[in-house]
Symmetry: C2
Subunit: 334 residues, 2 copies
């Protein structure tokens, strides 16, 4: 079990890895951060306070980083990329603000979530404002392609999230349906970010599509790992409330795998424990069918698929880096 | 007091007036409705069910009607207008879906609201989906102007709503601040709809701006009347929960006026009644300072300002109709 010191040093280690991965886009990512802060500001003191608070929601900046790395791999980073990187991060922030309502989360990035601070009503409206403003900014690009793709992606993201809520307490959920839910709720925004990075750097249709596939596979792997962490991880390490999936009746890959491979009384017992929301008891059961190992294996397979998607890029520093970014998804501490 | 029969016949009367006002755009409004229905559909049975349910949220279709009437007054209705009329109605629907969370409304268009049916989580996500999909569709136009203006308008709408929540139980709210809140939360979307109707019919900048002012003033008047109805109206007539403003501590124009004109014990009594949320008792107090009359007078003044905004249009059927639409806002049953 990780101590607080361990978790702090492993968080530092993760930051060090990201700093290396983001090295070729350091300047551009700083521009995205500056634009993000400038757009999330207001002359009104109350709204400024709300916006300042949620600045902390911006974490690893994986979506703008994917967009910028794809741009760098395909050509030149332009102002369009800075705009769209900002949009990607704002859309993600808006979903986090609304997720706080969805999940009734107590912790978010180790601080009280915005809905505890300002109530559900303000959280809904603030998320809506950020969505709208992100779409507004996306039209500052030289072409409307980014706006079109991000609005399409967000519509799909919401459908994925709705399907997830709808399948709460549905322990008959199969792996295929689970994957289609995480493709929507998580991977679509990664895929679209990577694709637009390539597209606005002048990549042809086929290459842009390859980056879409890269982001899609990376997103699938990321969410599988995130769900694994929710079951297995340490709260202090991850910085958000854990075990909320199981408490909320959200079946994720290890449980889905277990329910497919356990039979008779063992299966009945797993269902009972899952319905009761007892995370610790569930962990022991799931080890018996190697269900965590299976889920980690699937995440690994999607990371390999992400790497394969960009295999046709010329060998070199940028392709290696895209591979390393994909591997980073697997390296998150369990 | 209106009986159910009275209210049903007055609702029929309102429908008859709207049918006359919308006569020149009957075919185009039917196209908007068809596109709205087509866009709010899904292959997934659960999502289809949710979308079908909220189709009923679409009421008077005042926003697409303003857009189409402005187009007709300035030139020709094009496919762009059908698209943007659909977008206006979808954005309005999305705000209603989220308002159900905001207001915890029990009634919406005389049916249980979506959050009672499917829960807050699904309501947030469904609203987000409709927002995103509306922005996606707005990019089907021949130019990105509509997308840009509607996303800007929605960002302002959300700010207006946040300021309203923030000023809950603030009985020092003055008229100027109240007007700025309703400009955001209501009038901006009317103004933008009317402006885009003119713009996409080939109107010059000055004329488009005049239509923006027309919609802005009409929107101010509409919201003042809506707030009056919330205090004074009959539930069966209006088709939504009444008195929720006062229960929620939202000061609206009659109360703001009263608190500015009552003094000493009378003012203290009004504050006490307002804080207690007793609508019936408040009505009696507000009559003493003619505060309802004042609010209705302000609504009338904004309707006159709306008419003045389009005074430079050539005299004729379309200008008369725009005047009649403005007057309709005042004719809503009290």
């Amino acid at each position: 079990m990780a101590t607080n010191q361990d978790s702090s040093s492993s968080a530092n280690a993760a930051r060090a890895i990201l700093a290396r991965l983001y090295a070729p886009i350091t300047a551009e990512l700083a521009q995205v951060e500056a634009m993000y802060r400038a757009e999330l500001s207001s002359d009104d003191p109350y709204i400024a306070q709300l916006l300042e608070y949620i600045e902390d929601y911006s974490g690893k900046k994986l979506r703008p980083a994917l967009l910028l790395l794809a741009a760098k791999a395909c050509g030149r980073v332009s102002h369009d990329h800075i705009v769209l990187g900002t949009v990607a991060e704002m859309l993600h922030t808006a979903t986090l603000v609304h997720d706080d309502i969805l999940d009734d989360a107590l912790l978010r990035r180790k601080r009280a979530s915005i809905n505890k601070l300002a109530g559900n009503e303000v959280s809904v409206l603030l998320g809506d404002h950020i969505f709208s403003h992100a779409f507004e900014i996306s039209l500052h690009c030289s072409t409307p392609d980014g706006a079109r793709e991000f609005s399409r992606a967000m519509a799909r993201t919401c459908f994925g999230e709705i399907m997830q809520v709808h399948n709460r307490n549905n322990f008959e959920l199969n792996e295929q349906k689970y994957i289609s839910i995480i493709e929507g709720k998580t991977a679509e925004l990664y895929a679209t970010s990577a694709m637009l990075g390539a597209h606005y750097a002048g990549a042809d249709e086929k290459t842009s599509r390859a980056f879409y596939d890269y982001g899609m596979n990376l997103g699938r792997a990321f969410q599988i790992m995130d769900d694994l962490l929710d079951l297995l991880g340490e709260e202090a390490l991850v910085g958000k409330t854990l075990g909320s999936d199981i408490e909320k009746g959200k079946p994720t890959l290890p449980l889905i795998h277990h329910l497919q491979h356990a039979h008779g009384e063992a299966r009945a017992r797993a269902l009972e424990v899952a319905r009761g929301g007892d995370r610790k008891a569930l962990i022991d059961l799931l080890h018996a069918t190697e269900s965590f190992k299976y889920a980690a294996g699937q995440a690994n397979a999607y990371v390999q698929a992400a790497k394969n998607a960009v295999a046709t890029l010329p060998a070199g520093e940028m392709r290696d880096l895209l591979h390393d970014v994909a591997d980073f998804v697997l390296s998150r501490e369990l």
